[in-house]
Amino acid sequence: MTSTTPNAAMLRPQDAGADARVEDTAKAKRVKRRLTSRTATIASLIIAVLWTLPTFGLFVSSFRPRDQILENGWWTIFANPGFTLANYQEVLLSASASSPQLGAYFANSLSIAIPATVFPLVLAAMAAYAFAWVPFKGSSTLFIVIFALQIVPLQMALIPLLQMFTQFLQPAQEAVSDTLPFIPTSNFLQIWIAHTIFALPLAIFLLHNFIAEIPGEVIEAARVDGASHSQVFWRIIIPLALPALASFAIFQFLWVWNDLLVALIFSGGTEEAAPLTQRLAELTGSRGQEWQRLTAAAFVSLAIPLIVFFSLQRYFVRGLLAGSTKG
């Protein structure tokens, strides 16, 4: 099974960087350490390969014609050469009356994902700060309740939320755009709010863990100097928590990017707000007969999350808990 190798190997973790720094260790020890280091390298290579192989298989398949995908394994690609861009062509370029060009869906997905990442991030950071550093009665209980809300299934929250939107939010939006005609009624507003709500429990939970571990002296010193909570929040917490915020931003972006359900329910039934995931789901055809297109679709959809991941990688490195001493 995939899990046994790393389990066994985990018993000998190794810190290669620290190795170099320790000059005065005995030679015998050094040899031993290099050996364990080698085991660690092999173990990590094995995990990396196991984790990548399935995706790689799909990647190869996405360039193969449908018949060949069905007839022989992707690893026989050299024995059974067949290369086609047709799957990608259909995914990227097919446009019709019912489904406009992919560009429109990309624009929608980005329009949904960017605010739906920013909003919960800021609100959760504020709440997490309050839970961690503003003592008040019932703080722990409230925090526990919020984190337990993660269990509420999204599907069960859709109807009440939608009812409230149609009763209160939509008339308000219409009133605003009637009085101030230059403000468009946003198709995305409901989706943003819904994603924000659904992200909050996890966001508060994750960020609280980090913000709570910022050394108390730093904050107390500022408070003694007369800084208000909002000053502490913006001048100390946010800079120190930047890495954590960036990490959560990536996860939240991913989840929103891959979401279909929330977007479908709260888009008000218009094509104008439909995300990329909808188009990709549709590509399989009415009865799923064109499933081979999904192979290409999976990689088209993967591109943007990977760009975001690589760009924000450096903040993973300094990580959720690293900021406290570096600032």
């Binding site: 990227l92 992919l102 149609t166 479908l264 760009s311």
Partner: protein, 448 residues
């Protein structure tokens, strides 16, 4: 540090944005729709609503959706209404949420009468306008009208249709071996035995796989058998739960199907053993006929679209189909089938005008001429259908002698028709006895 971070945080999102824009840019703006010359005199009856919009949702996507939208075009052009259609495969799961949340589209296209009736009972639909009802009285049979009627109130007209229970075969293989198209169920069994004996391959190939809906092609088999062995009255009692699901007559129908699907001398040609039926996607079920690895495949008329490009579908071509035969040769023609029903969540004038158009023979002819589907609308001219098989299917539907029954699982409550009936088929093929399976399905029937 702060600004540096901001720049870094903004950069990836900006990069993502630029890619999105580039994609949008290279696909460009849609060319203005070509205005075809339409004779608007036929459409005057619907009135004129400049700038009005009607939103429609349904499960129809891709090519089928394009054709549907094309069939709206003349109406849009002549009345000034803009029809905004959105198709998703999640429609059935989402529409109840949207309706309860007060955010439903103007019209919904429902492939399952069961779901349609549930929403009607929930009070979400508005009654169909009189024009729609008179169209339905004129162009559809009583059976069809009943699917849009709930507790005596008529809510919506049927739209398209399909016929289930076709048996696909290769005419040339039949001719070479001197096999005859069967006219009774007994002959079908005899033919299967003959093929099993003479041809060196298994006679039937079956695919029951369909992701979360795996098992549904098996329910079609059972429904066909119930209708043929026990007639439309028992069929109606069965779907309405006036007789229990584990009634001996239903058991008999299951066993009649089991004679094929649970018989390792009959299935599963080209795919493997009996168990393999569950993992073969239904779309690939019949394809081994082309390779001569099986001879018979039971699937609805829409399976025409699943044969690879270049397959000639004709009575003297590569592939053709006959309707599952009746129990006795002189029984009246009885078929099961599917279709859609249009339900309205709004009663604005333009919505009603569009609803009326959809229930007319005008629309039926427009849509069928686009290809790929049929309708049970009697004002439809069979010759406009896009293939020989579809023309034949239209004639069957329009024939007043034909007994038509809607796919039973679509009429039953969702807990049965979209859940326990499907899983029952899976357990049954996996080895459970008929009695165990029908008892379990009966137990799952909701009390209310």
């Amino acid at each position: 540090m702060k600004t540096r971070f901001r720049r870094r945080l903004v950069a990836p999102f900006a990069a993502a944005g630029v890619i999105g824009l580039a994609l949008a840019g290279c696909t460009g703006d849609i060319a203005a729709e070509q205005a075809e010359d339409v004779d608007c005199s036929d459409y005057e009856q619907y009135g004129s609503f400049d700038g009005a919009e009607v939103s429609v949702q349904g499960t129809i996507v891709e090519v089928e959706a394009d054709r549907l939208i094309a069939s709206f075009a003349p109406f849009e052009q002549c009345t000034g209404v803009t029809v905004d259609y959105q198709g998703t495969q999640e429609f059935e799961a989402n529409i109840e949420v949207l309706a309860q949340g007060g955010n439903a589209p103007d019209l919904g296209i429902f492939p399952q009468p069961g779901l349609f009736q549930r929403l009607a009972r929930g009070g979400f639909f508005v009654e169909a306008p009189a024009d729609v009802e008179s169209n339905v009285d004129e162009f559809w049979s009583e059976d069809w009208k009943a699917y849009g009627t709930v507790d005596g109130t008529f809510y919506g007209a049927p739209l398209m249709a399909s016929i289930k229970g076709y048996v696909w075969y290769s005419p040339s293989e039949f001719e070479e071996n001197g096999w005859e198209v069967p006219t009774t169920l007994e002959e079908l069994d005899a033919l299967s035995a003959q093929i099993a004996e003479e041809s060196g391959h298994l006679p039937w190939c079956v695919g029951l796989g369909s992701d979360a809906a795996t098992g549904w092609p098996g329910t079609d088999w059972v429904e066909d058998m119930v209708l043929r062995l026990h007639g439309p009255d028992v069929y109606d009692q069965w779907v309405n739960h006036e007789i229990p699901f584990n009634d001996p007559r239903i058991v008999e129908a299951f066993d009649a199907v089991g004679n094929y699907l649970k018989n390792d001398e009959y299935v599963n040609g080209g795919h493997g053993d009996v168990q393999s039926q569950l993992s073969v996607p239904f779309g690939e079920g019949g394809l081994p006929i082309l390779d001569g690895e099986c001879s018979l495949h039971h699937q609805a008329s829409f399976y025409e679209g699943f044969w690879p490009e270049g397959t000639e579908i004709a009575e003297d071509g590569d592939i053709w189909a006959f309707i599952t035969p009746p129990a006795a040769a002189d029984d009246p023609l009885a078929v099961t089938g599917g279709g859609e029903i249009v339900g309205a969540f709004a009663d604005r004038e333009e919505v009603q005008a569009f609803q009326t158009y959809l229930s007319s023979d005008l629309w039926a002819n427009n849509r069928v001429a686009e290809g790929g589907v049929i309708s049970a609308n009697s004002g439809l001219d069979p010759s406009v259908a896009s293939s020989e098989l579809l023309s034949q299917s239209i004639e069957i539907l329009q024939n007043p002698e034909t007994t038509f029954r809607f796919d039973g699982s679509d009429l039953m409550p969702g807990a049965v028709g979209a859940d326990s009936f499907w899983t029952g088929i899976i357990d049954w093929i996996s080895g459970d006895s008929t009695q165990e399976v029908v008892d379990a399905i009966e137990a799952s029937w909701p009390a209310s």
